[in-house]
Amino acid sequence: MALLEIHDLEVKFALRSGPVTALRDISFSLDRGQRLGIVGESGAGKSVAAFSILNLISRPGYISKGKILFDGNDLAQLNPSQLRNVRGNRISMIFQDPMMTLNPVLTVGAQMVESLQAHTRISRQEARKIALEKLRLVHIPSPEKRLDQYPHELSGGMKQRIIIAIALLLNPDIIIADEPTTALDVTIQAEIMDLLLELCEDRNLGLILITHDLGVVSQVTERTIVMYAGRIIEMGPTKEIINDAQHPYTQGLINALPQQGIPGRRLNQIPGSMPPLQQLPNGCAFHPRCAYAKAACKEQIPAFTQSGGCQVACHMVAELVNQAGKSPALENSPSTGQDS
């Protein structure tokens, strides 16, 4: 049994107009040392999925079905004080915007000591020592000085490093990172991703990386989950998904990237946009935008089909694979001229 197993998770939001299902049929697992990416566009439910693991969904949202098994315990059933023993201790979280995550009126050291003391009986001096050690771990220059600085004195990249250090304070087994570099510049993004990867490898951490950037997913993760309108539509080894995507949506997403197009020519676009969760179409939620949609797609929600190493929720997978012989995703992707 894997360390973290999620079975049939369903999350609903009780809105005035009636309950809206934000997440359904989510099942996946993660062990120590594994790196999992969750990709999708805004509104696909990837952040809700991440938040629900630690039961951080607040009203009007609630987990309406399913199990979140961590070390044998169902996190969805735990009371707040039991949950506190998992949050931060065993699973910690890194959020998107480093400017919003740190408390602006406390020094970095105070915030780190505070988290340590909230979870363990430990003196201030000892807590500071651990804090210092973690700051070194995330390669922050002159860490002693940083402990007494306030967040506004630090750059965005430095703040995100400190947040990673805070996430590491209690030596968790799993880190959930929700778009950790979206607010940062590309050179800093590369450094932060490199750091996360290094930590996972050196310390045997499990990582769930939520992002919309397929390039980042391919650099950091081993397995990938692609989400669309609250569901998993494809999951499998990252390399396979990037090089040989099976679901028409994943193919469309990859082909729409500027680096896959021929400079100066039109990009391969997916028509339309993702439907709001209140107005999901019948059958496969992607069918109104899908070039391959048939009658069955409009009526029946597709179940997962095994295709290569991937699981794909698409009625047309078998047919598409037979037709193309190989990946249709690669047909339009010329070399980017950057490979050296």
Partner: protein, 337 residues
Amino acid sequence: MSTLVEIRNLHKRFPIHGDLLDRIRLKGGRLELREENVHAINGVDLTVNKGEALCIVGESGCGKSTVARTVMGLIEPSEGSVHYQGQRIDNLSPREMMSYRRRMQMIFQNPYASLNPRMSITETLEEPIRFHQSDLGKAEMKDKVAEVMQAVGVDPSWGKRFPHEFSGGQRQRISIARALIVDPEFIVADEPISALDVSIQAQVLNLMMDAQEQRGLTYLFITHDLSVVEHFGARVAVMYLGRICEVAPTRTLFAQPRHPYSQALLSAIPRLEDERPRFIRLQGEVPTPVNLPSGCVFHGRCPHANDRCRNEIPALRQVDDVQISCHAVEENRIASG
């Protein structure tokens, strides 16, 4: 190839020293007026040729948006000038500027903020016509609005709706329609797709490329996303801390970036074929634009910096089809490859 827009030695400083009372300091028994500025742009020279798409890239705080706004006349330069078809436009009166405003339009980053939430789409699109083509009759105006909405892929029958009824991608289409409606020659687009999802980004980029082809538009395209630049731009200008590092044809830059900063920036693009993050690691962090470093603004982080870089500001020099401001490149100190 004729020059449409020329930017000469542009500087922009934003004062952060507050009002007179804040500025007065007692120093050595004498009152002194303290002055503190953010140096957003420090001597930028740039030309945009007719019919091309020039991209400006750089990280946050490098001054790329300030350049865009100064070109549009939304902010006044502290020094230097902006020329449109040879005519200086940065010092014109609002009345004189009117005729230029019709020819140059702007698309902003956030389509949630740039459309007036209390105006219907038709009202939003008719407003520029009222200012710039007031001779147009009511029926003609209606036709024109419908035609432009069609062109950007928004159903003309939705004209009575308000911005909140549209998705982000559709709103950005409407912002593009608002720019196109007065038949401009030149469009400044400030991060027009940064707020959009990948599948929608492709739609909007395609729309902008179609419009360029059909209407012979010239673009000044501001972005931080290098893979978009690679796809969209004919030429790229790389900015760092308010200065131009390198201006090159897109293909040349991506095949062989010469400026050490361009090299680092390009190396950090996450690519689908990557197995792990790979990039040129820069030392330190971007210095504050309040106290600029002496010499080359990049010297503190540059692996090739020497004494000359620390003291002398490198000028933008033409090498083949590339303009570059770097002493190390000039002296051939960077091994190529």
